[in-house]
Symmetry: C2
Subunit: 404 residues, 2 copies
Amino acid sequence: MPKVSVKGQQMPASPIRKLVPYSDAAKKRGLKVYHLNIGQPDLETPPQFWNKLKNLDTKVLEYCPSNGIESYRKKFAQYYNNIGIAVDASDFMITEGASEALSFGMLSCLDEDDEIIIPEPMYANYIGFATVGKIKVKPIPTSIESSFALPPIEDFEKAITAKTKAILICNPNNPTGYLYSKEELLVLREICLKHDLFLFVDEVYREFLYGGNSFFSALNLEGMQNHVVVFDSISKRFSACGARIGAIVTRNKEVLASALKFGQARLSPNSLGQIAGEDLFDLGKEYYDGIIAEYQKRRNILVDSLNKIPGVVCPNPGGAFYAVASLPVKDTDVFCQWMLENFSYENSTVMMAPASGFYSTEGSGKNQVRIAYVLNTEDLKAAVKCLEEGLKEYALVDATALVN
Amino acid sequence: MPKVSVKGQQMPASPIRKLVPYSDAAKKRGLKVYHLNIGQPDLETPPQFWNKLKNLDTKVLEYCPSNGIESYRKKFAQYYNNIGIAVDASDFMITEGASEALSFGMLSCLDEDDEIIIPEPMYANYIGFATVGKIKVKPIPTSIESSFALPPIEDFEKAITAKTKAILICNPNNPTGYLYSKEELLVLREICLKHDLFLFVDEVYREFLYGGNSFFSALNLEGMQNHVVVFDSISKRFSACGARIGAIVTRNKEVLASALKFGQARLSPNSLGQIAGEDLFDLGKEYYDGIIAEYQKRRNILVDSLNKIPGVVCPNPGGAFYAVASLPVKDTDVFCQWMLENFSYENSTVMMAPASGFYSTEGSGKNQVRIAYVLNTEDLKAAVKCLEEGLKEYALVDATALVN
């Protein structure tokens, strides 16, 4: 029997999805599972999307251009212009979600054994995309004590080698919710210009800002036209994850030309998501105010109630809809599985993503979880209560699993 | 300014799409361009697809499971059962078209510098997918004189090394239209069992058979459960290229588990194409008879009229909707571009795919083109007439471009 590739064996299983068989089994046993593991918003996809589909009079669902439908790219660019970022349709390549954008971005800019510096914890799938191209992820640790802020410039300088080609951040951050300030972006600008590195920024959560915070896009960094590559998606902004529509946005024409060849090999991104999604870029302040108010309410409930649980620490995230919390357990991989397999409270349990998968450094983040606050406030309260009860019971069942 | 990757530079531009700027320019000059370059069927996507979209009452367009929606995989498996292939939903992984299926299949089974044997000419994007994983394509030449039939077993034996992991064919073939017989598949079975190789078969055109030909699926080869990996798509079968829905179909659970990890990294295939496309698997004999009759008529017109042009040779394809023809010119890359830039007949011109991009061997196929017969019979006749006139004029303008 022929064997699968070493790469296939080395590909990390998703920390967000690897416990799915256990949650499926819990559901089969009749439990309600609160999904705090995945960034799947519960908010409705705006009606404009569904209406477009209902009123289609297309006859043949054709391939679209490899870089996306032109009218869609124009609308996407217009939305950028409206938020103060000067780009046009030719700076865009439409992809299958930000996932494909990140994958093409890495393959277009980095070769085997080239290095990409990423503050950790990091979005787990960055490690997977790097594995495809045998690109080396060089993590720089951030700490829960400093709310996962950008590490000092010295840490970057120490990590940079002749093989370093890029720095990647997610802003606001998945998994930590940390919002990088303009000052922190200026630090990254300085490093990238000094060492001639690409600055990759995943900005899919840029509207999700709380407490009056404001966002500074890497595309507005001066003198960085050829260095900045932004990854975007409509998944979270418009609660349309299943559309799988994202984009690479950059003024570096060589990067776009390279990415286009990867794009041509897969012919085109899906057409339906673009056709149905075009009008969503017309949504205005009222729409965004509504979703931000809802998520801010959820964040406040989550963070307040988590920090009231003995032994739990959760910094207050400035954006996105994730938080990384440390729990009073030794190994959250074991604990999260136990919650699904062996625990229930009021006929429910909670699914979380063990944070170990968001660290590229072996052994880091073992007592942390990533929590996505994508449930309505009632469910969110019930989920945190359930977690609290779970931690109590776990301490009794398995005293050895406790920290200290 | 940071530089793009060597891989990005090495990625081949698509021979199917690289002339698009010239066809766009021709259209801007007011010419009608007959597109024989791309396998974009003109037949209508069945109404079941559009009706499903019109009647959706979904509120949130969610991610689906990384291996696809379960009900969709069940329907897909049922369609296989109906055509005599015993597989079930657990043998499927749904992907973004056959493109992603092929890409995940290669990455799951082959590492850097591993070798995959592919008869050439071959579907151009196989070379692109291999480039992503730094996998070596080892071509085995087939010849226009033998209608691009499977090369003798000795040619495979000679090409196999310790690094060989897989043989890949497309059946019926893109670009040649050649339909591999059961006997030829038994030859491949023998080689794969002897050398413990994967047999990858791209079967997206399996219904497109002419002249009463019948199709033998690699999934029905005995004793090859762990060797055969089939790639499929709804793009051509249901004229739904823009849906980007394909599949890996294999009984090898290790391959599926490996592919699933690549799939988890990109979260999920798009949901809309699956939701809208589910009922298409219920289409019966009448539907397939209709499309086959139409394409057979087109094939006959194309092949007959091409072979009547002085100096043109085109074998009669047994399936798919492509043909590879040799033209009386020295370099079809130059000629195809010239047709778009410098020629018109009755205010029209023809776009074809130069065959050089379908060969991995440098310098092969220089006088060949791939033609997709995806136009209605009237347009197809006009396109061939236009090509005939183009060849006449080209012979006068550039006598040095002629063979001999």
